[in-house]
């Protein structure tokens, strides 16, 4: 069980308890039904079916907290209510239905865990998790001297690019360059703004990739999320440097905004998944 398996929203309850709750409630309800039936106790077996209903809601919750949603698991509470709201005349049929339903929920739980990934990672307020968090922390000293206005503009540029508003990116990035005061690590941030302005213009106008384009230099490498690729193209004519320049520029501006413009963190959270995808490549 990895750390990311802890469901979001309630870190006090370990994720494994939620996972176990599905078979425990569903099979537990069925077992209770078998016990009451074999011992001749005359009660409405719908009470034992409540275990399946609870297990369905737990499974739906586990599906909901994952970034990739499983529509089948999400709709199990509807089926649980439909199946068990109306009592069957025959006790054996009710018990068989509960057992089959418990097996189905267990299969769906396994499917959910293997096909739909881990729940969204939790993080303390004001922090980022995973490689993105590590990178942002690494760049913190370099971002300390950035003018707040430039850092805010970095957030705007990053968010505009994430939203596919490439026309705005060019304008905002040029504005960001003017706000840098030239001190400390400003050259790397200036290059990041320039790369985004250039690449946004290429995307906006649907131009082919140019042979010559703005790139980071080896002097900037300590601040970059990923190493600079070799400049030559591969056998298929693919130049990895063009995409790497964009990825590094996006991540550097995200880090600048996060570290030096605290007021923008809420907005940056809306594109955190995007930044994570970029850094995880």
């Amino acid at each position: 069980m990895s750390q990311t398996d802890i469901p979001a929203g309630n870190p006090a309850v370990p994720g494994i308890y939620y996972d176990l709750a599905v078979p425990v409630f569903s099979f537990g309800g069925a077992a209770l039904a078998i016990l009451t039936w074999t011992s001749g106790i005359s009660i409405d077996l719908r009470f034992t079916a409540a275990g399946c209903v609870i297990a369905s809601f737990v499974l739906a919750y586990l599906a909901w907290i994952r970034p990739k949603k499983d529509i089948v698991a999400l709709t199990t509470p509807i089926y649980a209510i439909i199946f068990f709201a109306v009592p069957l005349d025959d006790a054996v049929a009710t018990i068989v239905l509960e057992l089959l339903y418990a097996v189905s929920l267990s299969i769906l739980l396994v499917r959910l865990k293997y096909r739909f990934g881990a729940p969204a990672a939790t993080h303390e307020k004001g922090t980022l998790s995973g490689p993105l968090g590590e990178y942002v922390e690494k760049t913190q000293p370099a971002c300390a001297g950035l003018p707040p206005a430039a850092a805010h503009r970095a957030a705007v540029v990053f968010l505009r690019y994430a939203a596919g508003e490439y026309g705005d990116v060019q304008l905002e990035a040029r504005g960001g360059i003017l706000l840098l005061d030239g001190s400390g690590n400003a050259p790397a941030f200036k290059t990041a703004f320039e790369i985004l302005a250039e690449q946004a213009a290429i995307t906006e106008k649907s131009l082919p990739r140019p042979a010559w384009y703005r790139q980071f230099t080896s002097a900037d490498e300590a601040l970059l999320a990923r190493p600079l690729p070799p400049e030559k193209k591969n056998d298929e004519g693919y130049d990895a440097g063009f995409d790497a320049a964009l990825d590094n520029a996006l991540l550097l501006l995200f880090a600048a905004a996060w570290n030096a413009s605290e007021a923008d963190r809420g907005h940056l959270r809306t594109a955190e998944t995007f930044a994570t995808r970029v850094i995880e490549g």
Partner: protein
Amino acid sequence: MKIGNVEVKVSILSIGVFVIFTIFLLVASVFSSDVRSQLIWLIPGLFLLLVIPVVLNYMSRSEYADITPVYEAAAKAVRIKLINENMIGKPVRIEGVVEKVRFRFLNRPQFIVADRSGEIAVKMFTNPDEDIHEHDVVEVLGMVIHRYVAVGDPVINCVSIKRIGKNAGPAKER
């Protein structure tokens, strides 16, 4: 079958339904005189099972043909990795290799398209102009949408998918 400039295709599912109900009708008409007396209605009704999907397919395909030039003008070429929830509603153009094709038999194919940066589901609500198979290199035009209307990861609602290269083999092997 071609109606005007539109190539209309009937799904295997529609043909299957038609065949099953034809067999039901044949068997029922052999054993029941009541059914035989209603054949004047039942036979046209049976053919409607084929005609209605054909008409719907024609309507959706002609609609897609009309909006494709709009997307060709407006869509921006992006890498798959850069497609995210903030781009919902934006027209995009991607190029990649088809890794999987699902639900073709429903005339609602879903392609998994991958490029060097990642993979994404491409959903189409009618059949494409040309038969697209696994490992084809394709260009996709479409809009970024949520997988389940308002929730779920971003996928592409495909307007046009065209083969632009020969069979490339699985993307991960390249």
